[in-house]
């Protein structure tokens, strides 16, 4: 409906719309629920850090990992973080370059998810290292032949690009907070002052930002494909059944887009819930479009999943067979089938219906997709280590179950990422005013001239 009104905006209407947007997007103080949520995340995060100090002291023996299953939830959680961070490139870059207009209010949400996820991906992989104190060895003795070095390079590149892709379009927003937010603590004002880089709303500055976004959008797409493909190669470059697959890159990337879009949908719903003025910008239309996108991505993921599981299952080759039997009918079967059903099949079915693409059912499907994706990565990482000769090792090493401290550290990292997102929402406009104004048909000239104005001038 909004699309129809577009070209008919008069100058007055356009300016009013801009003012209204500006007011709505000013970050506001949290209510009780917001503060409770932040505190909860902070406590979980601190608990994780405390347990990590234990791990530094006592070694990785505080985890459930041993020689037999030597990679655990740290690694599967790392894969999860890398996966969900891919959505930044999908919504901000791919949809931007395709000139999909409804993506404007979603781009910053997806970019915040991307940045915080990739930051914690980097941190959790350090947590998994036996000797984090020797990280510098990767620079001193790095071997380009090792997929780990490729991963370090692409993840840090992606982190930088994602950060810039979040930061550049945010500059006018920060400047607006600097100029318009009254009655805020001194440090907060100072923060806006520094971060806004002397933004003065000039057309030249906008032109530079626009150009930067286009360049970054083009660059970030191949890098995004690289991060998750290389992450899949950490597994696919070994001989282990379940990992030894040429399908892994595409399989990982398709799953990543799915979980990331799920993350954006969940974010949209929660933002609407706690700030009703966002409803004007995150409309049912946006949920409908995201629902269709999510259904498409789930179908693509289903396609690669079929390739990944059914063809090896058709052959049932020795070791591969014992791995698949564990997944299909064995120890991991309940988790495997729930993840397939709730994380992929059910969302496809629900999202095919108009009623399924309303905010609430979408939110529920998004949560299924996200939780399913986390456990899916558990199923990708852990069972592949449980087939080799199980002899001469203590009974307790044969089955991996994460210890409490391991859960606490992993939970801490998830809470940390959510905390970053939450703090961002608290201090910065989560929807890009000028991009949404453009989407709604406000001309560039009006934006340049009036973006810095609020209602209360």
């Amino acid at each position: 409906m909004e699309n129809k009104e577009k070209k008919e905006l008069t100058e007055k209407e356009a300016i009013d719309l801009l003012h209204e947007l500006n007011e709505d997007m000013l970050p506001k103080k949290f209510g009780i629920i917001g503060n409770a949520w932040t505190t909860l995340l902070f406590i979980i995060f601190i608990t994780g850090i405390y347990c990590y100090t234990n791990q530094i002291r006592n070694g990785l023996s505080i985890t459930g990992m041993r020689d037999f299953v030597f990679w655990g939830i740290y690694i599967s959680n790392f894969v999860f973080f890398v996966a969900i961070s891919l959505v930044g490139s999908l919504i901000t870059a791919v949809l931007y370059l395709l000139k999909v207009e409804w993506r404007a209010p979603l781009s910053r949400i997806s970019e915040v998810i991307a940045v915080s996820a990739i930051v914690f991906a980097g941190l959790i992989i350090i947590v998994d290292m036996g000797r984090p104190d020797r990280m510098v060895n990767m620079a001193l003795h790095g071997r380009i032949q090792s997929p780990i070095i490729w991963d370090v390079m692409v993840v840090s590149t992606y982190m930088t690009l994602s950060f810039l892709l979040l930061y550049f379009p945010l500059l006018p927003g920060i400047a607006f907070c600097r100029d318009r937010l009254k009655g805020i603590p001194k440090w907060q004002h100072k923060m806006y002052q520094i971060l806004s880089l002397g933004w003065k709303y000039s057309p030249e500055q906008y032109a530079i930002v626009r150009k930067a976004i286009t360049i970054l959008s083009v660059i970030i797409i191949p890098v995004a494909l690289c991060i998750h493909t290389v992450t899949s190669w950490l597994f696919a470059s070994t001989y282990r059944p379940g990992w030894d697959s040429t399908n892994f890159g595409a399989y990982f990337v398709s799953g990543a887009f799915l979980v990331g879009s799920g993350g954006v949908v969940a974010g949209m719903y929660i933002l609407r819930k706690f700030n009703p003025s966002y409803k004007k910008y995150l409309t049912d239309m946006h949920f409908d479009k995201m629902g269709k996108l999510l259904a498409l991505l789930a179908l693509v993921y289903a396609y690669f999943s079929i390739n990944e599981y059914l063809i090896p299952a058709y052959k049932m080759k020795g070791e591969e067979a014992s791995h698949l039997n564990e997944l299909f009918t064995g120890y991991y079967a309940p988790m495997f089938w729930s993840v397939q059903f709730f994380g992929m099949i059910l969302p496809i079915i629900v999202l095919l219906f108009n009623k399924g693409r309303k905010p609430l059912p979408m939110f529920i499907m998004a949560i299924f997709v996200i939780v399913g994706a986390w456990f899916k990565r558990y199923l990708i990482v852990i069972p592949s280590m449980s087939f080799l000769p199980v002899q001469e090792i203590p009974e307790e090493w044969k089955h991996y179950s994460p210890t409490f401290q391991e859960w606490a550290i992993t939970g801490g990292s998830l809470a940390g990422a959510l905390l970053l997102i939450t703090l961002f929402v608290r201090f910065f406009p989560i929807i890009s005013v000028w991009e949404v104004a453009e989407e709604k048909g406000v001309s560039h000239d009006i934006i340049y001239e009036h973006l810095h104005e609020g209602n209360e001038k």
């Binding site: 023996s61 036996g130 071997r143 282990r240």
Partner: protein, 314 residues
Amino acid sequence: MENEDNKADRRKFLKFGVLAAGLTVAGGGLQKVLSEEKDSGKKVKVLTTDGQVVEVDDAHLKAIHSHCKPATPAESREGIPGKKFVMVIDLSRCAHELKCQHTCQKYHHLSGMNVWLKVFKMQEGENTAPYWMPKPCMHCDKPPCVKVCPVSATFKREDGIVLVDNTRCIGCRFCMAACPYSTRSFNWEEPEYLHETVGKEYSPETGFPQKKGTVEKCDFCPDMLKQGKLPHCVTACPNGVFFMGDLNEDTVSNGSETVRFSKLMKEKGGYRLNEILGTEPSVYYLPPVKRLFPFQDVKISEANEHQKERKSTK
């Protein structure tokens, strides 16, 4: 314990002559030098370094161990020039006595549950006969572990030996994921027997002292090979299961028999594990045919018992 050590030394000394044919003597080892004791009247024939047999009085001889300085991590990367070490494991002789494993644990001062040399009960299919299979590191010519190591902490030397430098390892465990033979162990906690190795200088050629948060594995005992001696598992095995030697010289020895490698392969049908993977292991197996011992099943957890005993006597 003391007696056993002496016996082992004597056995090693006796085998030394045999070995000298197959392996280079790179200095060190057990030497006898003249001491200033009074004559005992008992004469002993010895061979001098320039090949002459001379007779000296027994009392003038004194056994000393020449301690080779352990190779530094940088030196350990070199390897012994001109060598290509191979191991042959004769499955028809293994009776699962685990002497190889115990001596390996002892000489490498391995702590905790980390066992470098495992002996698996193998049974390929439902109707095939079970047998015991000792499994050291395969020291592959195309080692997947070396390929994936991000910091070159694990490396292959020019003599074909694959080692780990635990002063460089970052503990990512990618090598453990890559190894199709599962030969690697990780130090999940602070190693328990550090006191045995206190003050000892670390060398990738001996693998101790172990370090928390690093990977380790069977090293083919390059410190022994350097001295022209056989690895500990080879000399410890009472049944002569293990043969060690140089592919370039086409000779392998288990201490009492020294044989042509190619002939052994030809006559006994030698093979390597998982040849299909293309890793080209340096460990060859001889099939369990015409066995010296009937297969007797024992509880596989003996290695753990051994470890627990060590823990309790500490």
